[in-house]
Every structure is written in C-alpha cells, then in structure tokens.
Amino acid sequence: MRSKILIFVMIFSLAIFCSAFAQERILKGEISATGVAPKIEGEKAKFNEYRDIRDGVYVGVDTRYETERYYLDFKAEDIGYKTQKYGLSGGKWGSFKYNFDYDEIPHNYTYDAKSIYSGVGGANLTYPTSPPSTNISTWTTFDYSIQRTTYGGGFKLEMLKPFYFDVAFSEEKRKGVYPFAAAGGTSPGQGAIELPAPIDFTTDNLKIEAGYVKNPLSLSVGYFYSTFRNENIYLNFRNPSSPTISATTPDIFTLPPNNTDYKLEFKGAVKLPLNSKFNVNLSTGSTQSSVNLLNSYVTPTALRVVTLSDSAFDGKIDTQSYDFLLTSSPVYLLNGKAFYKYYNTNNKSDHITTTDGTATFTNHLFDYRKVKYGAELGFKLPAGFYLTPAYTHVQIKRAAREDIPQNDDDIYGIDLKWSGLEFMVAKVGYERLQRRGDFHGPDITGPTDSANIEQYQRRYDVAPKDQDTYKASVDLFPIERLSVNLGYKYKETNYKETILGFRSAKRNEFNVDADYLIGKRVRLFGFFDYEYVKLDQFQRQIPYGTTLFNPANLPTSTAYNWTVTQTENNYAYGLGTDIYILLEKLTLKLQHNNYKSDGYADYTYLLNSIPLPGGRTQDNIDIPNWGKYETRHFSAKLIYNATKFLSFSVGYVYEKFIADDAQYNGYLYYSPAAYATYLTGAYRDLSYEANIVFVTAAFRF
C-alpha cells in the first residue's frame, strides 16, 4: 500500500513537470549512506525512545528539481527503519503547491517487560492457574513500544489570487503495547495490576480552507474533521484479586472510545484608518463519542450487576470560540493591541444514573466558559528604548466544579527593551498575576463525613494565587562573529488561601550561550542552563470516621498534618568546536553535552511530641533520589570533502544515561507486601550506555 502511494506520487509529480521541460532546469541534491555500528548496554528502549539506531546502513535522499516556474522536492530519511520518512512536495511558484508525506516514529518505553498474562498485544489477558505464578521466569516477555505511522497529502491553490484554496488529509496509525494499570480489588487500598494494554488507534484528519487575501481585507473559511478509531474499546483481564470468579468471568478495563471531532471556523482581518487592523476569529465545533456501557463489574468474590438509566453513553461537547482583536499604530512611536476572547464548552453528554445496590451515582458533566480581554501598548522611546505595558483579565466559569466554580485573573505586565547600541540588546520584564476564586464549601452530611476535609483544600489549578515573574536578558555582539547571550527568569507563586495542597512554588532559570568564529579556522560554541524548582505542599492524614478534619487541631497519632518540599536542580552545559583544518576540505567537529537533574523530597511529620510511626525519623523519611538523571554525551566527527561532489565522514558518539529514581530503584515485579501488586517492569531502570561508530559517504549533485 505504502509503495503504491509513493509510486503514484512520483508519477503525478513527474507529469506536472512535463509542462515545464522547455525551461531552464536545475537538479541538485544529495544522496548519503551512513553505516552505523552501535554497542548499547542497559535499557535499549530508553536509548531508542524516539529513534531506531541499530547495526545497518541508513540511506538519505534530498533532491531539488526546479525551473523558473516549477519545483519538485523529494526527501527520504532512514529508509527501511522505524524512523523512515518520505516527503515529496512540488508545485508552481505563486500558483499551486502539493505535498505527500509519510513518516514513522517509534515510542519505545521498556524492552523485555514481563507479565503474568498471556495474550499480550491483544484485548484478552489471561493466565492458566490461580493464583498466578510469582516466578517471573515463567512470565510472558514483551516490549512496551508504540509505532506511529502517518501519511497524508495536501494541495494549495494560489493561482486565483487573491483567492486561495487549501485541502489536506492525513491518517495516523498507532500500534503497540502500553502500560496501563488497574486496582486489583475493591478500591480503596487493595492490590494493583499493571496491564499491558493493546494500542491500535487510527486517526483521520481532513482540513479544507478557502480564503481571500488582498489589502485591505483577509478572509478565510476552514473546516476540520477528525475521526478516532480504537480497535479495542475494552481490555478483558483475569484479575488475581478475584480468584473465585476470574477464571470464567474476566474483569474489564475501559479503553479510549471512538470519537469524531469537527470544527468550522472563520478568520478575517480588515485594515482600518490610522494604520489599524481589526481581526476576528469565529469557530464552532463538536466532539462526540458513543459507547455501550457495561452493566456489571467484577468484585473480589462476585460479578456485581448494576442498573443503568441508559445502556449507552452518548458523549457530546460543543465548543464555541470568538476572538476580536484590534491592532493599531496610529503614530510611528506607538503600537497598540486590544483583544477580547470568548471560549465556551458545552457538555451535552448523557447523564447516566447508576444504581449499585442501595447506592446511586450520576455522572457530573464538566464544561466551562472562558472570557479574556485586555490591551497591550508598545511605546518607542528615545535612545533605543521600547516599553510595553500590558493588562489582561481572564474569567473562567465552570460547571460541575463545586469547589471553585469561577476564577478571575488580573495579569499586569511590563517589558522594556533597549537596543541603543549596535553590539547589544537588553530586555527586562515583569508580570504579576492575581487570581481570585470564591470557594464553595462541600455539601456535608455530618461531622464524620469525609467531605469535611474539602473546606481546607484549595486545588492548585484553580486556587487563588499571586504570581510574580521577573525576567532579564542581554544579547551581546561585542565583536564580529562573537555572540554572547544571557537570560534569567524568576517566578514565584503564592497560593495565598491554601491550607491543604500546594502552597508555594519558586522557579529560577539561568541560561547563557556563546558562539565565536575565530578567523576562518575555528568556531567555538557552548551553552549553560541552570534551573531550580521548589514546591511546598501541606497535607493532612486522617482516618475514616474521624471528626478531626481541621488542620488546626492538635495532632494525634492517626490525625496529623505533614509537609513535603520537592526541589529540583537542573544543570546542563554543552561545549563544542568546529575546526576547519583544510578550508572547505577537512573539518573536525567535537561536541560534549551534559544534562543533569537532581530531585529531592523533604518530608516532615507535624506530630509535635508524638513519636513518628514505625522507625521513622524526620530525616530518614526524605527521598534524596527523587528523580536523579544524567545524560553524558560526546561526539566527534571528521568530514572530508574529497571533491565538489563527494564527501566522506567518520564519527564516534558516546552517550550515557543514568537514572536513579526512588520510585523504581530495587524494582519488584511482584510485591506481596503491597496487597499483591503485579507489575511488568515498565520504566524499571532506564539507564544505558552507548558507543556508536559511523561512517558516511555522501554524493552531491
């Protein structure tokens, strides 16, 4: 099928060129072949997370054919590998364009994972006897990996200027196995099972657009239609936590439903007096899904039947978006922008009431409306200064979000840029965000109702907060061929009304890079990035049936507050040089990069004089390797241009990735202590070390 498409594309493209043969023609390009010999130790899936580097020859083709009026480009990369990519584009300048693309990309998670289940890759997972064997040497071995394949094409017609027409289609397939997980028994607090779930998704996208662009008017109408198909809506699995019935009645895990999505949009802009322009964007769309509902579920001892108000769920969310923007530069020294945006989602999905014994549940359908307006002014000042004050107000109103159904944000910003010198551009900026949100307390049925705790929670995504962001940067060009760039950013967030939840966050970022060409022989370049992140969190642990919800209560051995401060230090640097040993003949490229992150979780039990449980102290509970990762990379490449047409290169790459993560160190596939948890090894140890040698021959024409 793929080869047929490509052949069709080639013939189609060549046919177009028949009409252009009378003109002057240019054919140029490059064909290269790279032999690669990698030696990889450790987790090859992480090394090849989005790559497919293995022993073999990688062929690339990049050709351009053009005349005075027509052109045709063809590109191919990694032919025959999981990262192969083909692109063919052509057209007549100013009249029409077309393109056909084919692209593959893997996403590898973990190789040689292990599962108690047979049937991995399909929608029915089972094992022969209960309980399943805990001897992992008897388990099924497989790879967690998804291969994404996309192909599509497009056609743009511009010859009827000022009108244009654009159509594009693409289909993306994703196939593979991905780690899902499910509670083993009845939640809360029982075992868990990691499930190798089948991924067999197909997404088709169609986009059609027609428009008109001629001063003073620009108009376009677009239609976007997308369908998503999942070949497996359910994953059936034998549940080790339901041994008495699981042999005959599998447990069922729901997977993403099929859906369709469409959007109709209008965009326009009209020039107005005083060097102004009015811009508008109006769109309406809808996302729909439909699925037959399960009327039972597996418990540890039985198949429990429930009564549903409807046997099927029809999901539908309508969306409307309206933007109005006025830009104006009435005088040379002033640029202004005023904007208004309205975005509304309307959830028209089915309300389903489930009767489960004596309990009833009705789903809450979430939707929201966002209104945003503001203005930004740019003042050109003397001596190369440019000042930009801005104000934005954002209001979000939510349905089915009882805690904080509305937020109002005021965002003030000011930026100052100075470009008064030929060799320097400097910028400073400040932004303050003030978020308000009226908290609505939960409906409480009594003093022991667990919902009492919500009075003290402010969920961080909607919690009132003050946020200050400072930034500065300097770009220096002190001498020709030398550039030095420095940047700094500091962000501080204070969740001012939060008692339980994230209370504050700080982020420091510093970046510097430089590039220097010394004469014509040596180019030096490098960068350094530093980032520090700190997140403070205050929580409360309480047992079921308590009345001690208020964090202000004195601690007891079972109801107390605790805090955690997570910090993350990230460093990255890179140094490199290009040495032009023989100008335009022989070049040596050297590069060393190092990326390091260091996470730490600092816990504190707020128990006053009550002893910490089970041998814990305030120090031995902290997690020093709360995500420690390091990547060391070194590469060397020697390029020899033998002739104008032929070049050779030889190179070596060393890459080492070290993962030290407390959540995966000492990995256990089966953990009886934790309510019989069966894992599969997903992400268990991502460390690897790779040595790669490569040789390339390239022919240019």
Partner: protein
C-alpha cells in the same frame, strides 16, 4: 491669555506629532543603479541571491522582476556616489535597525499572503522580532531559514531549549516534531501563538484518544492539559509538572489513603513498600484519570 492657552494646547500636540510621525524617506524611488552595479562590489551576496527564490523571474512580483537588490535595500545611487561603505545611504538590515522598518521591507511583498495575514497579532512582532531574525533572503534553502528547528527558535527561547533536553520530552530534538507543528510563529489567535483556540484542542490533534467525551470526566484534565503536564520537557515521566503521588495529593486529600503520607519507607527499598508510592504510585490503581466510561465506583474513582 487666549493665545497662551492656544499655545499651551497646540504646541505639545505639534511637538508630539513631529516626534511620533515616521521619519520621511531620505530618498525617493529614483536612484536605482541596477543589479550589475551592486554585483561589482558585493559579488558574494549577488551569487547567493541568484541561488535564492527571490531571483526567480518566473515568479510574478519577485525582486528579480522589480529592482533586484534594490527592491529590499532601497535605491543605491547615493550609496554608490559616496563610495559605498557599510550602511552608508543604504538599508542593510542591521541588528539595531528598527524591527518594524525591516519587516516592512518584506511585508511589502509578503504582507498579502495567508501566512502573514495575522502578523500584527504575533508576539514576535510585539517584542521586536523582524523577518531577518529568522530568514535570510540570500539563501537557496526552502523558506530561506537561517537554521533548522528547533535550533532556530532556541536561539531566543533558551529556557525552552533547557526544557527540551530533559529526560521526558516530546520528540523535538529527535527531529520528529517541530516548534511550528504547535506554534504559529507568524501570528494567530491562540495564546502563546499556539495553533488552536485552546491548549486541549492543540493536544488532542495528536492525542485524539484523550478527547472523550467520557461519562466520568476528570475536570482539570478536560479544562487544561497543562494543569498536570508541561509541553516542552520534564524530569518526571509523561511530562508531568510534579511527581505522583504529590501531584494527586495536592488536590485529593481525603480520609484513608489519599491523604496518607508516603515517604522513602514506602519505596521498593523501604521498610513498608506500598503501591501508593512505588512505580506509578496513585496511578497503579487510578489509571483512567483522563476519563472513563466504566460503571459505578469503577468509573467514578477512575480505576477502570
């Protein structure tokens, strides 16, 4: 008194207009010397120009069909008369030159195209980025870009570069995803110049499996993917903004296990390993946090 008042009112207005109005063109449209004169001193630039799309005579309105070099640089007669020199009576797109003036040269031809219809809305324009920051007219490459993505964008967006280098990332540095796949660098209506009306609409273009609609949605997820995820890179698996379980606990303090403190003791190597801490932590059980159609509590608590 009236005269004084008139003066006080009108003088500042006149002064403001004198400062604010754009400076008059120093030269008229005369003074075109022709491409051969330019070539005489600037042969390297001429040769690179000839390889570029701008030199194609088959394209209506291309510089080749107008005044060639002087289509963009302006008339060169005064420059020639003064014996040349960098920037002497000629527009040469210097770094310190006003971005608006530089972009105006390009927009004179490219302004009436669909790609640049909304350039006025672009943050790039507002912060003084001009066309020549990213493009070079003296190039034979398609779109005349000065570098390939993401390097081109990372030259200015250095903190984004730092994010992309983190261990959990989109395949940007592998060359399978470009900045312009998500961002409209020439301006659009989306926040942060994203190519969609909302963040979720943008994410759903690739992650269509998350679109739902689900019987049991997870409200923060449905409102904004960026409540839990970051787009450009993270040290935490799946591009999360904070680690699980803390990320979940920040919103879901409750009796029994949601508010329970889990520490180093609950890791695999701890004294009390717990599936509330190791591996996926909360997600070991509550996996369907993007939404589910499962019945009863299995759906409500996102465990199936």
């Amino acid at each position: 008194m009236r005269k004084s008042l008139t003066f006080l009112v009108f003088f500042p207005i006149l002064l403001f207009l004198w400062i604010a109005l754009p400076p008059p063109e120093l030269k008229g449209s005369d003074g075109i010397v022709g491409v051969e004169i330019c070539k005489g001193c600037h042969e390297d630039h001429y040769n690179s120009y000839m390889k570029s799309i701008h030199a194609k005579k088959g394209i209506p309105n291309s510089p080749a069909n107008k005044d060639a070099c002087e289509s963009c640089h302006g008339p060169g007669a005064a420059h020639v008369e003064k014996g040349g020199g960098k920037g002497v009576d000629i527009f040469i797109f210097r770094k310190r030159d006003d971005a608006k003036s530089k972009s105006a040269k390009c927009l004179a031809c490219h302004g009436e195209t669909r790609d640049l219809s909304f350039w006025d809305l672009a943050k790039h324009k507002a912060v003084g980025v001009s066309c020549d920051n990213c493009h070079t007219v003296h190039s034979g490459s398609r779109k005349n870009l000065k570098a390939t993505q993401p390097d081109l964008c990372n030259n200015c967006h250095r903190s984004i570069r730092a994010q992309q280098n983190k261990q959990s990332h989109h395949p940007i540095r592998e060359g399978k995803l470009k900045c312009t796949d998500c961002h409209d660098h020439h301006g659009g209506f989306g926040q942060h110049m994203i190519k969609a009306d909302s963040v979720n609409e943008l994410c759903y273009k690739c992650h269509a499996d998350k679109r739902g609609p689900f019987m049991w949605p997870h409200p923060p997820v449905q409102e904004n993917c960026l409540s839990c995820h970051t787009a450009h890179g993270s040290n935490i698996l799946k591009l999360l903004v904070s680690r699980v379980p803390q990320l979940c606990q920040a919103c879901h303090d409750w009796t029994r296990h949601p508010g329970t403190i889990v520490t180093r003791f609950e890791t695999f190597r701890g004294a009390s390993p717990s599936n509330r801490m190791f591996a996926h932590a909360c997600l070991n059980c509550h996996y369907t946090i993007h939404g589910t159609n499962a019945p009863s509590t299995r759906g409500k608590y996102h465990v199936r």
